[in-house]
């Protein structure tokens, strides 16, 4: 709050300058990892305190934290960004990716990508991710419906139609699981 007052309305510019400093700090110390980067978190906090809508700072700040070995910190930082910017698709998208790739928690990845899909500007590949994840977490019928919708969508290009057909065949070939439909 004090930093925002001191910025006198130039808080976005101040956030940009602190962000440049954060990037430089990370760049200078990245080779020292797994050594601690004590200034990384305070610099990131200052950046987003000055501009709570600095989406790129949340996205790349979380990446820096993860590379620096702070997995929980990275996830918390992304979630803090989402709470402050609930209408921006990039943050729930990155949280979903974090759960999928790093924590391998597929139900949570599915939950976050479902949120992403509802937001304006969300990437067109999100429905495919969701369809695949529905199959992976055992929601076979839902996955089949989603893949069918992708296949029947006239805007889907031939490459993804082929993927949709393969996924449908794979799902039809697999055994229906107990709690298949959510």
């Amino acid at each position: 709050l004090v930093a925002r007052y001191l910025a006198l309305g130039y808080d976005r510019l101040a956030a940009d300058l602190v962000w440049v400093q954060t990037v430089q700090y990370f760049g200078e110390h990245v080779s020292a990892i797994p050594a601690r980067l004590p200034r990384l978190r305070p610099l990131l906090e200052l950046t987003v305190a000055l501009d709570p809508h600095f989406v790129e700072a949340y996205q790349y700040g979380a990446l820096f934290l993860w590379i620096a070995g702070d997995r929980q910190g990275a996830l918390d930082f992304l979630q803090e960004g989402y709470l402050r910017n609930p209408a921006h698709w990039a943050l729930p998208h990155d949280i979903g990716r974090f759960y999928f790739l790093i924590l391998e928690d597929y139900p949570k990845a599915l939950r976050w990508w479902t949120i992403t899909q509802k937001l304006p500007g969300a990437p067109t590949y999100i429905p495919r991710f969701i369809a695949r994840l529905e199959g992976r977490v055992g929601h076979r019928e839902t996955a089949l419906e989603l893949w069918a919708a992708i296949l029947n969508d006239p805007t889907t290009d031939e490459h993804f139609r082929k993927i949709a057909r393969q996924e449908i065949e794979r799902l039809l070939g697999s055994r229906p699981e107990g709690a298949s439909t959510p």
Binding site: R4, Y5, Y10, R12, D16, E56, Q59, Y60
Partner: protein
Amino acid sequence: VAKVLAIALNTFRETVRDKILYTLLVFAFAMIGAAAIFVQLSVRAEGRMVKDLGLAAISLIGTLMAIFVGITLVYKEVDRRTIYTIVAKPVRRSQFILGKYLGLLITLAVNVAAMAVGLLALGRVLEGQWQWVLLPGIWLIYVELTLVTALAVLFSAFTTPVLSATFTLCLFVIGRLSRDLVTLLPKLAGAGLRGVAFTLYYLLPNLQMFDIKGQVVAGQLPDPGWMVGATAYGLLYILFILAGTTIIFERRDFK
């Protein structure tokens, strides 16, 4: 009107000869140009940085121009005693104040336009397209500058340049924080102080009205109602200040 315009054009010619104006303009272009360097040091926020830095340069340097040229506008005439030759002519003091003020507004408009062209050109080079969406933001920066100029001219009518600069700068800071302060004060103080805070909030200029930088940098066109409202607010406030300046100046004895 002819007399006001004559004074305005004369003031414009006078202010464009002011060296401080060129120094500040060089700083503004240096700041806008620095954006091209900063983008190399950042990650994924390049477009935003160029626009943030450019708009901040226009606002910051424009404010310094408004203050440093505005505070000497009337004072110089009195100090050099050229005011005697003007008040001896059939020119009302209100016309003199208005002419001086409009002259400085023309100077500011030329400078803001030059900085805006610089910013748009840099955006075109770095991002490959003209960022016309920034224009509403630049317009409201200009309206804010006209209000700051009116404050500087007000103080210039009755005190020294140093005090004028101090007072104008204080009001600029308060104006930039007024909305934040009004949300903070009720939490800290009792009912009496709360009343004072709200009265001050409505009396002092609310410069945050003119800040839509975040919105235009994000590529969003502002609400036309907001643009009209903020411009009308600025205009009304300026009329109020200029009326005050004229009253003070009318009462001054130049003997």
